[in-house]
Symmetry: C2
């Protein structure tokens, strides 16, 4: 069970080396990340995109391209479709966004012929290692689904539990997050979190334990549960997966974690046939490498 | 202008010493906080409550009660009304919650005869000093109003701007927080944040600059605004007041700040005739003392 990114990386080293298909690889930050992922044995990459620009950028960062396969496709849409097809056809194990807008990238992911669509709802998970927390935290959905319905939330839980399983967490604890840890009929978020908890009791959600509503302190700290008299909860301060009521709460907490909490993170899109990495330009090289590592353990599990 | 709690405390020392009325003071954490506030010259206190218990607890923590006026009222409701009346009548400058439930305490605050009600909407603000941020951050409303309307949000801004002014921040920058920094018609929170920004442009909100929607990174960091091409915003990464769309987002971020961000905080209720301190049992002595200091500078301003 990976409790931090160091352990996740050592888990990767136990897997066969994975191959990453990169859409529009002509981007310095992306090339730096795939270079590091290659050097550290996490994944090799097939670089799809503008070969001339890729070679130019690689030269400027002293990157030896002899280890990398390059497929020259200059057009952005065509490059994304060519890259995703590599994953679709099994020539690569995971798919990384390069220098193209998120909309075009997602279109390739969802392409009916060469994409990675399944019958599952797509969702996003960001995995954090935080100072003071002795386990990985899976924050979801903080970037993709704006206002998930109850049904969407079940899908998000199922997607995220699969990721947690891949990280070696056998029975992840899911916390339905809210402002308070008791059901308040005037707060629909608390009612819905409790619904999800009941669904797990009834066997409609499996492979995990779901509890809710839980406030941030009660989800993370047993001592907070003790102070508030709720140590008898199903998830008494030991949540692995933090399920947010909507994207406003999720994203605001997520960016607080990224910018203000001493932490490391990596993130992937879930519910796809193979792991998809949708990091943003603002993400550091470390975040991109952590995301590739996360994708690698998920790819191993999906095999 | 106070940029951290040290500067806020030195601001307090420039004010005349304030008097705190405590409702149901028979609580160890509360007595420790008022003892420290007294010793540090922040405020003296009138302790209303069960005198026998107050003396018992004081003895157990070696607290010399000769500096404190004690008013013996054993009944909780009566004690709260007696304590709030001291503030209502001008015998004390601010009002602190002791060992009683929030509902009873708030009932005394809102009491028509002896309470501290004004025609303003009540709201709550939590003030943070965070590592890596060179100014105080005012998070609101994270604990009191569950789903503020646009009108409520105007009231929250006005209440909080008054607190920021009291802390010496002449023209506080208010960020209407959301998951994204651009208006998305499908996200009502972003539309409402933009509405508030327009209202400030039109002079309907004064004494501050309001911008929105802003994501957490764009509200806090000029470099994030630069990367996202929005350095021309009214609040380009230098927000003082973070206005949350609702209590789910606000409270989840607030508790992340408290528990995971290296930080100090203090909080008060606003919109009342005099500052009201509504700290919870879980708050540390430091939080309570910071809150008393914050209340003291506000009381000085309201004089």
């Amino acid at each position: 069970m990976a409790k931090n990114f160091k352990e996740l990386l050592s888990k990767v080293s136990e897997c066969s080396k994975k191959t990453l298909a990169v859409a529009c690889a002509q981007d310095q930050a992306v090339l730096e990340a795939v270079k590091e992922a290659n050097e550290r044995g996490i994944a090799s990459s097939i670089l799809v995109g503008d070969e001339e620009k890729i070679r130019e950028i690689a030269a400027s960062i002293n990157m030896d391209l002899s280890d990398f396969k390059i497929i020259n496709v200059v057009d952005t849409v065509e490059a994304s479709l060519a890259a995703v097809k590599l994953v679709h056809d099994g020539e690569a194990d995971m798919y990384l966004k390069g220098l193209l807008d998120t909309k075009t990238f997602l279109k390739s992911v969802l392409d009916k012929e060469v994409g990675l669509r399944t019958d599952k709802t797509l969702s996003h998970v960001c995995v954090f290692e935080c100072e003071g927390i002795d386990r990985l935290l899976f924050l979801t959905d903080v970037a993709f689904l704006p206002y998930p319905t109850l049904e969407d939330k079940v899908a998000i839980i199922n997607n995220t539990v699969e990721i947690a399983h891949a990280c070696g967490i056998e029975c992840p604890k899911v916390a339905g997050m809210a402002a308070v840890e008791v059901v308040n009929p005037k707060m629909k978020e608390t009612v819905e979190a409790f619904e999800l908890s009941k669904m797990q009791d009834e066997g409609k959600i499996t492979g995990c334990i779901v509890d809710g509503p839980l406030s941030m302190d009660c989800a993370l700290y047993p001592h907070a549960c003790e102070e508030k008299g709720c140590l008898d909860r199903k998830v008494p301060g030991n949540a692995d997966i933090l399920l947010f009521p909507d994207i406003q709460a999720g994203n605001l907490v997520y960016k607080t974690f990224v910018h203000l909490v001493p932490s490391k993170n990596g993130n992937i899109l879930t519910g796809t046939k193979a792991p998809v990495i949708l990091t943003s330009r603002a993400d550091s090289c470390e975040v991109k490498v952590n995301s590739i590592a996360l994708a690698a353990v998920v790819a191993e599990k999906l095999k």
